[in-house]
Each structure stands twice: as structure tokens, then as C-alpha cells.
Chain length 386, copies 2
Amino acid sequence: MRVGIIGAGQLARMMLEDASALGIAATVLADAPDDGAAQTCADVIIGAAADEAGVRMLASRCDVLTLDHELVDLALLSRLESEGVVVHPPTEALRFAVDKAEMRRHLGAAGLPMPNHAILEPGEASDLAALGTQLGWPLVIKAARGGYDGKGVFVVEDPEAAAATIDDLHRAGITALVEEAVAIDHELAALVARRADGQIVAWPVVETAQVGGVCREVVIPGVLSPEVAAHAEQIAREVAELVGVVGVMAVELFATHDGLVINELAMRPHNSGHWTQDGSVTSQFENHLRAVLGLPLGATEVTAAAVASINVFGGDDAVDLDEALHRALAEPRAHVHLYGKTPRPGRKLGHVTVVGDNGAEVRAAAWTAAVALGTPVPAEMEVEIR
Amino acid sequence: MRVGIIGAGQLARMMLEDASALGIAATVLADAPDDGAAQTCADVIIGAAADEAGVRMLASRCDVLTLDHELVDLALLSRLESEGVVVHPPTEALRFAVDKAEMRRHLGAAGLPMPNHAILEPGEASDLAALGTQLGWPLVIKAARGGYDGKGVFVVEDPEAAAATIDDLHRAGITALVEEAVAIDHELAALVARRADGQIVAWPVVETAQVGGVCREVVIPGVLSPEVAAHAEQIAREVAELVGVVGVMAVELFATHDGLVINELAMRPHNSGHWTQDGSVTSQFENHLRAVLGLPLGATEVTAAAVASINVFGGDDAVDLDEALHRALAEPRAHVHLYGKTPRPGRKLGHVTVVGDNGAEVRAAAWTAAVALGTPVPAEMEVEIR
């Protein structure tokens, strides 16, 4: 069995680690030879995710295509599907992760909980003052396509700013999704894996501690009530079934005073699930591979009382990552995962997971290693460093 | 940091998985492009372990050289060391894993416990009847170099058979190690990792269930008394210090009525330690990499009450490994590790580890998956299949 991965970032790199263990061969389609997974894959095709020749070469070598990121060419993948190429997740599902406006329409029609919103296609005018009155100021404007990690999300305070932002998107041919600014108590991620035959497994729902739209940490056990967690899992299972995803899917949700609403979908292993590599019976990367290859899904229980997974970012100071790794591994229980990237301020370089008996302890240990690797501690967070 | 691995079998393949996670680059020197690790490594040099040009090319690309197996050219590695190449384990240690006669002499001189034995160099005659009377019949004759997994070990009943076996070895230029046939209660493996600066960590000592000189399973908790386990660990630490190993070392021991004796040494990750991938805070592969790169060593505790690791072998019937994987993964807690090998009768193809609360349960689950992968159950073992 050979799996082909469109894109060669850290998610592909971590898939490759589990593919190796399962005896599964893999090929990546990489933008550049120094992409994280291109550094570690035995079979690399250099090409953009939307490059037809590259994607066709990948398909010709592999039994199934899957992806490292959603910045793909849906029309191209759909054509390949019609020619018999297996793409998992299938484009009929993937479009709801690629396009937030399509996701809002489809999930909304199914009665799934969502923020109040309006969808403005390029060329479509709107009375923004009225829309702001209806949804409440400030408004959140999102690019329907192309955003990630807080990019492509804009908070605007008045009709003029809203109009300018929407105009920018429309001029670039991008649909604008205009949403109410939800009063968020917690940001949650519900992670599931689904096979083509409908089998679904779910990992425990986690809270993601976000700063500036970027996930900084996941700690288990979190503060979520069992009821909220169960509801979030139920929503994720419903979405998985509704859209027919094959592979891992993360449903990002907001917990509000009025209950849960869906923020967005990712149809691939997700940052909120990196803890599963060291803290769950089966990692999200392994179950993604299993799902897209039609293999039985593995157990998803947490293997310990407490797990903390902290993202590693480049700071303002130059860091020699080899020396930093030396310091980080002085934390003897730290599972350090680095993505093969050159440090730059704000760049996500890796993550550190610690598994143990006590949430505060594993969090302090993981943060200690993450800081040793150069991660700045956000001013918004209280962090204990040992 | 780039590590160079001489040999590209399953041990190298599993090292690569952990190297990827740590952000460490790797190059393998592979006999053939379809070697286990050559299938998964982004940088492969094709060449034999004793091929000077290949080893020199590997050294020129890497910060440190380590190995997948001990069938290396010690003289070549020693020359490279004198030229400044870092080889870990260093040849001064490695020779005791490469050559059992040297190991017996050196460890015996240090007073470490060993079976009674005699060393017969090529050309050296001996009164085998007298030696047999002294050590007791049958005798165990071992090739000092080149054996593994029961190969190169011969049990002989009388002076004529002993002479014939020794002549065969001597004609091949191989030293014969003649040993008493120890009455073995248990076969043990004590696994440690040591850095060049002397830091040593030890995993829990395990019993290895062997059939025909080949390890079939490791189950934790085993039947070893805490005293025997502590003594075995102490011996392994003494040996590590004595020989100056850098990297992982396994000391295989026999537990007898009269106490422990050392069987042999392996200076690399060892089959008896495959359970550490899924059942210990830090795997033997990761700590091997950390040790040879001078990084701090990770914690070695068991992460659960019970761990079972069962080797997967090819059986007499042809098996489609893809289909077999499908059946094996129906065991939802099974961690299946396959080495990228084509099944052949008796060939070691992988291993299955299950971690849980109860030794009998994890053993049954792991055996069930191993049998689904085609592993024959040895007649000598009692195995529960679910």
C-alpha cells in the first residue's frame, strides 16, 4: 500500500512516522525540497498542490491521495476522482473544509449550531450598516477560502472598515463570510476519524488555548464539563456523517453562554490533536492513515491521567535549535516534536507533549521544554516554568 | 544535526521514526534499495557495511556514525575514528559486541559473571575430550563473530562433533568459543543507554521468551524477582561503564540456579526493547539517538501496568501482508510495527505491542494481532488467541 500526500508540511511529516511503523509506503508532493516532510520522505515529488502534472504523478504512484493542508485545487481533485483516483477525504467532503461559506450553508441547512452570519459573494453588495445592526458590532469577517491560524480573519468595528475589508476580499475573488462576534467562553476541538464505510472513532474533546487565533496549548484534563464535551463530540460525529469525511476531521467549536457553535472544520490531522501521539492509544496521524486506507481504526482513549501539549514557536531572538534541543531534553519526560523548520519569529516549529499523573505538573514540564526551545510565553497566559 | 546509520534494517527504520520527531536528519548506508530503512529514508547511500567508499561517504555527510547491526568492519571504523570521525558506539566498545571471544576475555577479566568457557583461535588445537569433561557435555560452540538470532550457535554431544564444528569455524578463519551448556531458568535482557560523558539510564529488565535462539515475546510484568532484575541491571550498568559504550546496549543474561551469567552484548537497540516504543516514556530508539548525539537521555519508566510485545514472523503459508494488516488492526489496541519486508517462512517481519492494565490481556491481544499477521505459534508456547 502506498499513500500519496498533497503537501509536505509537519502534518505529512508526522503521518510518515506512523506510516513507517505500519509498513505503509508514502510519497509526498512538496512545494520545495526543504519542506518538513520532504526532508524525511523517501519518495518526493516537487510541485505545488494545485500543479496538475505533480498531482497526477502522485496519483499514478499511489493507492490513495490524502492531504497535508486544505489549500488544494478542488476542481482538479474532483476531475481525478471522476477518473477513478481515490481521494480521501473525498472532494464532496473536502469542500466544506476548503470553503467556509459552503460549510456554513451546508451545516446550517442541516440545523447544526452556528454563529449568525451572512455570506457575501464577490460582486454582491450589502447594506453593512443594517447587517452590523442585525449581527452586532464588531463584526468578524472571514475569507471563505485560504485562511489558517488566524490569517484571513478580520474584526471590524464599523460599516466603513467592514466595507474596506470585504472589498479587498472581493477584489481578490474571495467570498466574504460576515459573522457575529461570538462571546467565547472556551474554544474547543472535537477530533474524529471516519472510514468510508461509516465507522467513526472520537478522541476526547479538548479545549484549545488560543492567542491571536493560534493554538498555544492543549491540556487534559481540561475545564470542560462532561456534558459540553459530549455535546461537542456528538456535533463532530454528526458533521462527519453529514459531509462524508474519510480520514481525520477536527471540528473547532466555540463554547458560549448559549451553548456550542461551530467555528470551522479541518479535514486532516489537526494541531489540537498532536497530544494523541504520546497520550492516546492511537495517534491522529495513525488513524488518519488507517481511515484513508480503509484499515480498522485504533482505540482513542487517553493513556494517562494528564497530558499537556504545548506548541513551539520561534521568538524574537535567534536560537540555535540544536543547542535548544539539548536544553529542552533536560526535561526527562518531554516528548519533543520538531518539524525541520528554520526558526523565525512567530513560526510554528514544533510541539512538546508531556504525559503524567497531574495536569499542572505535565503543563509545567511541557512549557519548560517549549520555552527552552525558544517559545515566547504569551502575555495573555499564566505559565509555570521549572 | 545529521546521524549516519551503517545498515538499513528494521532498527535503522525505527531510529528514523524517532529522528523525524526530534527534527534530526539521517542518512543510511543500505545494502540494497529495498532494505527496511532504505524504503523510508530521504537520504540513502547504497553500499555494504564494510565498503570503505560507502562508509566514508556516510561519514562525510553526517555528524556521527552509528549502526543498525554489528556486522561491520571494525578496522575500517577504527581508521575513521583516528581521522576524527565520531563513531558511537566507539570501536573500543563495539569490538565486545562484534567478537564474543573478546567479550568473554574482557568481561571475565573484570570479574563479571560468565559461563565457564574456552576460546580456541584458528590453528589452535585442544583436547576436546578433556575440555568436555571439564565443562560438561553437551558443549555449546559459538562462532565468535557473525552470529545472530541463534545463528552461529551449535550444541555438540561428543568430542567428534565438537571437533567437526570447531574445524568448520577455524577453516572459515573464525575463533570458536566453547562454553558449558548452562541450565537456564530464564533468559533476560537488561537494556541501558549511555552517553559519552557517562550518564546511564536503564529500562526495566525483561525476560525474553526464546524459541530456537530467537526472541518471540516480552511481557511486562514478568516473573523475575525484583532482586534478580536489580542484579541484572547492575551488571548491565557495570558492563556499559567498563566497555565505554555510547548508545543503547542490551546485555543478554541467563538466570540459572546459581545466579546470573552474561550471554552476549548488543550495542544498538535490541529486539528485547521494542516494547519501549509504546510502553515506556522514551523508546530505546530515541534514547539511542540522544546518546550518540550527546543529547540528554529521556525517562525510561513503563507507562502502564502491563506491556506485551510479540514478534511477527512469516509462516509456511503465503500471506498478503496488506490483508493481514487489515485483520491485525481489528485488535483496536494493537500497535503494529512492520519492517517493510516481504514475508518468507521464519523471517522476522515486525512486532506487535499492546499496553494495558493486565499482563494476560495484553499478551492475548498482541498474540491475536501477531497471528493475524501470519505468525506461527511455536509448539513450545502456550498462547491465548482471542
